[in-house]
Structure formats: structure tokens, C-alpha cells
Assembly symmetry: C2
Homo-oligomer: 166 residues x 2
DNA sequence: AATGAAATGGGATAGCT
DNA sequence: AGCTATCCCATTTCATT
């Protein structure tokens, strides 16, 4: 099979071969693997593996992260908010993005197609905290035409990364 | 201020003090920090920091992860799908969860309040790939009453973890 | 009980074949 | 890519407050 040349953001195009993909797969399954364990699993020795890893990290294909368990730090409630703006001018959207950038409760902000403009993912302590966020923070923002909240019960599936079926 | 006792999933309750929180904050900002750098930033030496880290990882408060840049591996399209089921029996939902668990394109699945049952986050190559997923995979599933797609233009904010304003 | 200093052990990486 | 050697980093032990 051919290796597709792909372009990480802000970097040069990079070609991933089958070994690179196996490396990524293994790391997605277990990010705590040592280079020796990882090398063994992908059928390599430590040195070339180390070089490949450096390439992948350097090109921005993968990056290390530390994930916090929300409940463990007192964030018991997740929600999605569909936001519609009065888009009278181009800078309305940019102002909104700047505003939510300053709100730590807003964990993700996507601009989307459809009958709303932004889909936000929000992480707060509890329902009271969510009410405070909506009433005291969002309702202060200008140009918000509509906001629909969807509370998360639970999350039966979450995979930090995915790969096409190579 | 008091340290709240919190309960990571499947583990014993754990108390996080101010130093723990600073550690977590620093790691969220930069997961590649060495223990020495991290120790310096939180005002500790390497030894006690190492112990605190072991505690945090052991209790499941934080965990290491490797994040893949979707575009870099050929996944150029993100979407959200709001799914409504014919919930005639309790096992309908469970069957659905099992089905989407086998679909690598479904990166997240949340059960939610509101006028749909599941919110899915989906990561695919392009629009053609998305059509294939919806038409060939989802439309084969029984009990799906409705599905509304929302395509992501871009993601102006994404923070892998958040902390309450301690 | 938790910190800091020092030593030890292991893993990651660079040079070479 | 593999082997080897080096170096750096993480961790453990111990003394200390």
C-alpha cells in the first residue's frame, strides 16, 4: 500500500509509513510505553525508534499531553452549548471567540455548519455552576441570539485519537 | 483555602493541595516538561515532586496521553451527529453503544439530555467518507429514529483539560 | 509527614558500522 | 536499521525540619 504524504499544521509535509502508523497506534493505546517496549512492539530496536519518534513529534503529527480526570478535580458536569450569534458584522464572531477564550469552563469551541454558529463543550462543577456560567457570563456577552444547552449524562465512548483503517 | 477531597474513578478519595494543583496546571500547559523543570516551576525539588506525580498518576487524577493531529493522519473532517433512537426497550441503547464502539470514526459518544439521545463526535477523511459512514454504517443500524449532522468548520479553542478557578 | 541532598539505576539518544 | 556507549533523567534512600 502507498504511504500518503500528509501535512501537519505549520510544518512541512511528512510521509508516514507502516511502521510510523504502528508506532502511533501503540502510543494511542498506551502512552506510558517506554521506548524499549514500543520498539519491541513495532519490531524495531530502540535507536531507530527514537529517531522516528523525534520525527513524529517534531513534525507535529503527535504530541504528548496530560489528561485530567474532570471528576477528580471537582468538575462533575459536562455540557454542550449551541450558540447562535447576531452576525451583523465579521468581528462579531471574533469578539465571541476572544470572550470564550478567557473562560476556563469552555473546553472546546467549534464553528460549525447548520442552524447554529458555535458548538461549545463546557466543563463545570455542577448545575449551579453551570447556571452561573450561562446567566452571569454568557448573558453578558453582546450579540448572542440564542443558546441551547445539552447536558451530558455520561460518555460511553471516548478515544483520544483515531486512525483511518489502514 | 481548604483542599477538597475528590474521588477519582475506581480509586480511593484523594486530597489535592495547592502544590498538586500547580503541578497539574503546569503539565496541562506543557506535558513535555522534565521532572526537574516541573519541580522548579512549582517550587519543589525533584524527589518530592516525583512522589507527588506518582500519587497523582496512581490515583487516576491525571494520565499520560499521546494526541494525534487528525489532519496529519488524513482525517480532514470533524463532525457532530445528534442521534435519536426508538427507545422501545432498555437494550436498544446498549446495542447502539456496542455498535458505535466498533466504529473507529466515532471518537466520542455522549448520552445527553434534550431532544436527542446521543451526541457523537466523528472524525473522517472527507465528506465522501462521511457520507459512506452515515449511509452505509449508521443507516444499517436498527432503531435509529433520527440523525442530524453538524459539520465542523474549525476549532478556535481546545484545551485538553481545565481546572476550576482555584 | 513531607522536604531536600546525594547516589544509583534505567532509559533515551548520538556516533558508528 | 542495528549495536554500543554515553549521558541525562527519574527515582529511591536517607537525613532533616
Amino acid at each position: 500500500m502507498m504511504s500518503d504524504a500528509v501535512t501537519p499544521p505549520g510544518t512541512l509535509p511528512m510521509t508516514l509509513d507502516a511502521v510510523d502508523r504502528r508506532i502511533i497506534r501503540c502510543l494511542l493505546e498506551d502512552a506510558t510505553l517506554s521506548n524499549n517496549e514500543l520498539a519491541e512492539r513495532v519490531g524495531l530496536t530502540a535507536a531507530p525508534l527514537s529517531r522516528r519518534l523525534a520525527r513524529l513529534y517534531g513534525a507535529g503529527v503527535i504530541r504528548q499531553a496530560v489528561v485530567v480526570d474532570p471528576a477528580a478535580v471537582g468538575l462533575g458536569l459536562q455540557a454542550f452549548a449551541e450558540v447562535t450569534l447576531n452576525r451583523t458584522a465579521p468581528e462579531v464572531g471574533e469578539r465571541f471567540v476572544r470572550a470564550i477564550a478567557a473562560m476556563p469552563e469552555v473546553v472546546e469551541c467549534h464553528t460549525v455548519t447548520g442552524d447554529f454558529d458555535f458548538l461549545l463543550k463546557i466543563s463545570v462543577k455542577d448545575i449551579a455552576d453551570y447556571k452561573r456560567l450561562i446567566w452571569n457570563e454568557f448573558d453578558r456577552l453582546p450579540d448572542i441570539k440564542g443558546l441551547r444547552s445539552t447536558i451530558v449524562f455520561d460518555t460511553p465512548k471516548r478515544s483520544l485519537g483515531t486512525l483511518p483503517d489502514w
